[in-house]
Symmetry: D2
Subunit: 136 residues, 4 copies
């Protein structure tokens, strides 16, 4: 079951653009990361890392770049997710420019949970509970 859609605004500053005049494409992975941090909650992630040495890592990211995004725009990062067994979460994330009729960028992201020795770990129960409660 897929979650509701979460919205996270991102303003485009000088730092985001490149000399061709639009956002430099790796930066969209940053915006998706920020949006996921807001869905899961940064403090919760920080606690997980400090107390249990567990962190989320991107395993797969399939990105489609359909339009260029420009300086000074405030984009809407739309994020939904679903749980995929004990180990994986699957995220659909999109970048919407103001007034757009289709997303500028689409990302299908697979996340896993690793310990400090980069070994795969099941999703921690506190995250699993939190994500399940926020699934609708």
């Amino acid at each position: 079951m897929t979650s509701k859609v979460f919205h996270h605004p991102v303003q485009i500053y000088y730092e985001d653009t490149d000399h061709s005049g639009v956002v430099y494409h790796p930066n969209f992975l940053k915006y998706f990361e920020r949006a996921r941090e807001h869905v899961i909650d940064s403090d919760r992630l920080d606690k997980l890392w400090r107390e249990k040495g567990l962190g989320f890592a991107v395993y797969k990211a399939n990105m489609t770049f359909q339009d260029g995004v420009e300086f000074a725009e405030v984009c809407d990062i739309r994020t939904s997710f679903k749980l995929d067994g004990k180990y994986k979460t699957l995220w659909r994330q999109e970048v919407w420019r103001p007034g757009a009729t289709k997303p500028a960028v689409i990302g299908d992201i697979e996340m896993v949970c690793l310990d400090k020795e980069k070994r795969l770990q099941p999703l921690p129960v506190e995250i699993l509970d939190y994500l399940t409660q926020n699934n609708v």
Copy 2:
């Protein structure tokens, strides 16, 4: 005459940190840039660039790094400025961690205005008026 202090919140994400566990120091210049864009207003900057080919550039930046800033914190970027003749604006910018008693980072920044051939230009009147009105 120095302006009032403007406040701009910056949340620290994975992207901002380095493997020593704190914010990677060049990123503070990014936060200062974002804060100045909010003081002057990104749309106004965008219009200036598109219509008159004029943009702001940092001429000098004297930075003091007094404390490390960490993942998940939401810092307050405090910005004030004063006009310095026809060509220059002088900015004092500081990074305040939650609950701090002194700034983590202090920057004294000199900005000038350049055209597309990187030639020094006087501050455009529309910016001069706007900054003067917002000086208190």
Copy 3:
């Protein structure tokens, strides 16, 4: 027909890592971009942009992150490409850590050519010739 494999070394600096101790994942898209710029040749790209207003843009990027890369490592970015009709080039790019037996990161990247109004354009003949000559 797929080209030979091009090699481009990338040293991992503080700037590349995040507080979990490994390279922050969007940065791999940067290394792939740098490697492609060396295959096509930055001066050739710069000339194309300045004289014909044409630039390369990433349309699709399918990334798999199989291992973390660490501070101070010098990785080998392996790049091969093939032409796909008049409009597209398909790139397979991999990040190899020193002494690794499999790639840490794999990217399958689709590139197109756009003009300054972001309209799709056929691959410029000078690039087509250059890539064809370097195909073996």
Copy 4:
């Protein structure tokens, strides 16, 4: 006594530029960091961090930006340093564009050594010896 001048080449890629067409100014602090890592040697820094939990941190950075640097250029980062008591090293670093007669960017950087709790520590003897030997 000031050291000899160390040279480190930096190629300007898409990632380094912003929509005004030149290198985005915080990136020069990155190039200075890379150059210092090559002077001190990344493996030595990595060993110091892993084995003694000690790392270098920028305390002050006074930057002057005199010229814009452009896509595809390969700049020469010139670095010299001197020791300043038990705790500090002072670095003069400059960015030289191809064929330039004066530096595009000048930085005067003060570095200190911190432990994992961000407490000031004297320069480790192995670094002190290494820097002293390389002082000429």
